[in-house]
Each structure stands twice: as C-alpha cells, then as structure tokens.
C-alpha cells in the first residue's frame, strides 16, 4: 500500500524534478544499466562516507587521549559543514559549466549539468563527489591535531571544501586545464590536496609543545590507542573499495573488478614493505608505520588504479610502503610536526603515485614504451596542484591566525583540547597519563 503509494508519488516527483535522469516504468536493458550504475555509485559513495570513521579513528588513535574528542569534532564538522558547503558552492565550482579554471554555474545543484553526460541521477553523482570532497578536508585534521583552535579549524574546513579543493578538482576532473593527466580516483585531486594543505597547516601552527628540543632533537609522542588506529586503517581500506572502483561511476563498466584488485594488491604491498623497512631500520616491525604503509599503498595506487596491471600495482604499493617510512622521518626532521603522518601519506605518496602512472601505465607509461609524454603531463599536474594548494592554504591559515587565531595557548595544549575547547574529556572513567610519553631526558 504505502510503499506503492510512495513509489507512485515519487515517480511523479522524479518526472517533474529530474533533468538528467532516465526513467522507465517498464524495465529495459537501458533502464537496468542505469540502475546498475546508480546502485554501484551509491554503494561506493556509502563506503567512501565510511572512510570518515576511519580517519577519525586513525587520527585519534595516533594522538593523545586528552585530544580525542577534539579530533572527533573536527572530523564530524569536516563532513557536516563540508556536505553543506559542497552542496552550496563546491560542486558548482568543480563541475559546473565555466572556464578552464573554475566552474561558475550550478550552485545548490540548481542549473544545468548536461555537459557531464551522466546516465545516473545527478544526485548519485553529487553524493559520490561530496564524500570525496570531505575526504580531502579531513586529511588535514590529523596533521594539525592536538594544538589547533577549534574555531580556527572550522574556518579552514569551510574554505577547503568550498573553494580550494573544488578548483583543483575542476582543473583535473571538471574539464579544466589539467584534464589530460591520469588521476583516476584522486591521488592528486584528493590526497595531495589534503596532504599539501596539511603541510601548510602544520607549518603555520608550529610543533606541539615538547615535540622538539632546543638542541634540535626529537621527542616521540606515541598515539594513545593503536587498536583504534588499526581499526581506522581497516575501515579506510574497506572504504577505498568504494573510492577506487567506485570512480568508474558505472557498475556496468567491468573494469571495476580489476580496479579492486590493483587497489588491494597495492595496499597489501604497501603494508608489507613498510613493515619490512621499519623492521630493517629500527630493529623491530613498527605497528604505526605498518599501518601508515597500508595507507601509503592505497594513496599511491589511487591515480593509476585503472591504468596499471597487477605487477605495476604491487610495485607502486611496495615503493610507496618504503617511501612512507623515509617521508615520515624526513618531515619530522624538518621539524614540521605532523602527529599522524598525513603529509607523508597523502601529500608525498599521492604525488609519488601520480608520477608513477607515467611509468607504469599500460597505455602511455614509460616502461611500456609510451615515452615521457604522460610522465611530463603527470608531473605538471602534481606540481600545479602543489603550488596552488600549498599557497592558498598557507595564506588561508595565516589569515585565520591573524583574525580568529589558529593555535590554542600553551596551557590549553597541556591540559588537552577536550577539556579546554569542548569542556569534557573523552575517557572520564580512566585516568590518562602520559607516563610512556613523558620525556625526562631534556637538558641532561
């Protein structure tokens, strides 16, 4: 009864409202193909949404107990404000009709998107893109953890999802001036943008109190819950099966299967090689590096997941897994304090993975006789994205710092942001103390 009524009501609604939608009362091969593409895109979007939980767990697991609630709030707002902003203007900037630099039409999803040539409903395409936008924003949260003023962070989050990310997206995916590069699911568009914004944020903020000593030596600040961090990594890996294979936005495109496989192999190789590298370098197989290694493999393959074969995927993953260990150390030695390794994972491995497409793409890759053209295109895109994102984010963070303030006070930081920014603690029944992380070796 009710269902039928609703369906009827909806049919009417759909016909009135939807512009870009194929609809048929009677099932045909065409209508079925559209339905298949739609449910595929939606399921993939749901999986990518779930990555928000993964990010929240990884970031809070890799930081201290006294800031867990603050991480939650930042991630939740990245997605909540991000969804609203991406609806209001982000999607228009990215996919609206416009010029080679920016889209200028389609705010609030009102306007024509025929040029996208979608078979699936615009709503399905939008939600898939919206969860991507929120991912880029969330990446930054980890690098700025444990010392950022909540209000300042909110200001940043609004701008990246509403403006910075959509513009890069327009360049590469929205028909802009970098459309020639191969960045299938966003090693550059999503991850590098997040990673470079994270770099700018961590630089403007400065390191956490007690992270670097006067003599330049580094103190470790172990994350408070590796089990949660590992759960986060599993959730992210799970979500990546929406991120990469879903980027076909078509379930009838059977390459989704091989994309799933290259994604998985690269992640597996990334985790394995990061584990081995840390074992070799530090004498023990490091848990948090191995977790980062899996993410490195995932980020690395994201650009070329549909363009490389299995061997290429394993190699890209393996190299990303090795790279991440050195990149995390390198950034730390620059005294850029990135508690969760976001710059290394998303920025460095994202750029690396995008470049690797120039080598490993079956069609056009250097190693497959395709010459250096693709490689140059890729490098150009990587470079342009870096310049754009780092510059705008840096300016943005400086501006926020000047206006509302970007960093909490030293006392607030020592007390913990949960208490000072949100008025509550995340684990009131337990007594968190950083015995393991108390550094008694300064000045000695």
């Amino acid at each position: 009864m009710k269902k039928e009524l609703n369906v009827l009501l909806l049919v009417v609604l759909m016909i009135c409202l939807s512009s870009s939608m194929v609809w048929a009362a009677e099932s045909t091969a065409e209508s079925n193909a559209v339905a298949i593409d739609t449910i595929w895109t939606l399921m993939a979007a749901f999986l990518v949404f779930f990555m928000q939980a993964g990010f929240a767990m990884v970031e809070s697991g890799f930081t201290r107990a006294k800031n867990a609630g603050n991480i939650i709030m930042k991630n939740l707002m990245d997605f909540s404000l991000g969804s609203l902003l991406y609806w209001a203007c982000g999607f228009a900037f990215m996919y609206g009709a416009g010029n080679a630099f920016i889209g200028t039409d389609g705010f609030f999803l009102v306007g024509g998107f025929e040029h996208l040539g979608l078979d699936i409903p615009l709503a399905a395409y939008w939600i898939f893109q919206a969860v991507f936008a929120a991912t880029a924003a969330t990446i930054v949260s980890g690098a700025m953890a444990e010392r950022t003023k909540y209000s300042g962070y909110i200001a940043y989050s609004v701008v990246i999802t509403g403006v910075i990310y959509p513009i890069v997206g327009h360049w590469i995916w929205g028909g802009g001036w970098l459309s020639g590069m191969v960045d299938f699911a966003g090693s550059t568009v999503v991850h590098s943008v997040g990673g470079w914004a994270a770099l700018a944020g961590a630089m403007v903020l400065g390191p956490r109190v007690g992270k670097y000593n006067e003599d330049g030596s580094i103190n470790a600040m172990p994350g408070h819950n590796l089990l949660m961090a590992s759960l986060g990594v599993f959730i992210l890996w799970f979500g990546w099966f929406g991120f990469n294979p879903g980027s076909t936005v078509a379930g009838t495109d059977l390459s989704i299967a091989s994309i799933a496989v290259t994604t998985n192999l690269s992640a597996a190789a990334g985790a394995t090689l990061a584990m081995i590298t840390s074992w070799w370098k530090y004498g023990k197989a490091d848990v948090s590096m191995t977790l980062n290694g899996a993410l490195a493999g995932l980020v690395g393959i994201t650009a070329g997941t549909a363009a490389v074969n299995n061997v290429g995927a394993v190699l890209i993953g393996a190299l990303s897994g090795i790279l991440i260990v050195y990149a995390v150390e390198f950034i730390d030695h620059l005294h850029v304090d990135d508690p969760v390794g976001a710059v290394a994972v998303h920025g460095v491995c994202g750029a690396f993975g995008t470049l690797m497409v120039g080598f490993f793409a079956i069609d056009g890759g250097l190693l497959y006789g395709g010459g250096v053209d693709l490689l140059i295109t890729q490098a150009q895109g990587v470079f342009a994205t870096f310049i754009w994102t780092f510059t705008t984010a840096y300016v943005l963070f400086k501006a926020i710092d000047a206006v509302v303030g970007l960093r909490v006070t030293r006392e607030e930081e020592l007390e913990g942001l949960d208490q000072t920014e949100h008025g509550s603690v995340s684990y009131p029944d337990f007594v968190p103390l950083h015995w393991k992380s108390v550094e008694i070796n300064k000045n000695e």
């Binding site: 007690g210 008025g423 103390l433 300064k442």
Partner: protein, 113 residues
C-alpha cells in the same frame, strides 16, 4: 637518617621537577597518579546541558627518599619548579623513615638512595 619528601604537584610540572631533582644528585623517585581535593576551584564543566563542578583534580604525587641533609635544598627546588602562584600548586610533606633497603643488593642505609 633519611626522610621521605612527598610532594603533590600539577601534572605539567613533572618534567621540570625531575630534571632539577636529578641535578641535585637524587637519583630515584616514585610517581603516583592521585585525585586531589583542595581549595582549588573546580572548573565549571558542562555535559549535555548539565553544569557540574569537578572538585577532584588530577595531580601527581612524587615521593623521594633522601638523606636528611638534602631535604631543605629539595624543598626549595620543588617550590621553585612547581610554583605557578595559582591556587592548586600543591603541598610538600616530609616524613621520617626508619629503614631503607635496596632489594637488588640487600644493602641498607643512605647508600640505598
């Protein structure tokens, strides 16, 4: 004769204290997490719309067993490093000790600490 110097301090003062204390030549101490209750006004917190005052403050109790002649100096160090001037800085209590033994060697007396 030996004394136990026990001080209640803020969590954030631990590192400084340990560094200074070691320079005095006191090579060991114990730290316990405690909940302190004192004149310090609890912060007014809000949880789901309910205001409540947290009267118990997380503090650290640091215990050091030292020869009697070092007690004065130690008290100075503690007050120096741990003072912020605000209510809640904590207290120092000094106790007498009858005996002290090092488990590893079984030796007794001032050499132990």
């Amino acid at each position: 004769m030996m004394k136990k110097v026990e001080c209640i301090i803020r969590k954030s003062k631990l590192e400084d204290l340990v560094v200074e204390v070691e320079e005095l030549g006191i090579s060991g101490l114990n730290i316990t997490q405690i909940a302190g209750y004192g004149k310090q006004k609890g912060k007014q917190e809000v949880y789901r719309g309910v205001e409540y005052e947290v009267k118990l403050k997380e503090k650290l109790k640091v215990e050091m067993v030292v020869p009697s002649d070092k007690v004065d100096e130690l008290i100075d160090i503690i007050t120096d490093t741990s003072r912020t001037g605000n209510v809640g800085d904590g207290k120092i209590f000094v106790y007498s000790i009858d005996r002290a033994v090092r488990i590893r060697t079984g030796e007794e007396g001032e050499g132990v600490v």
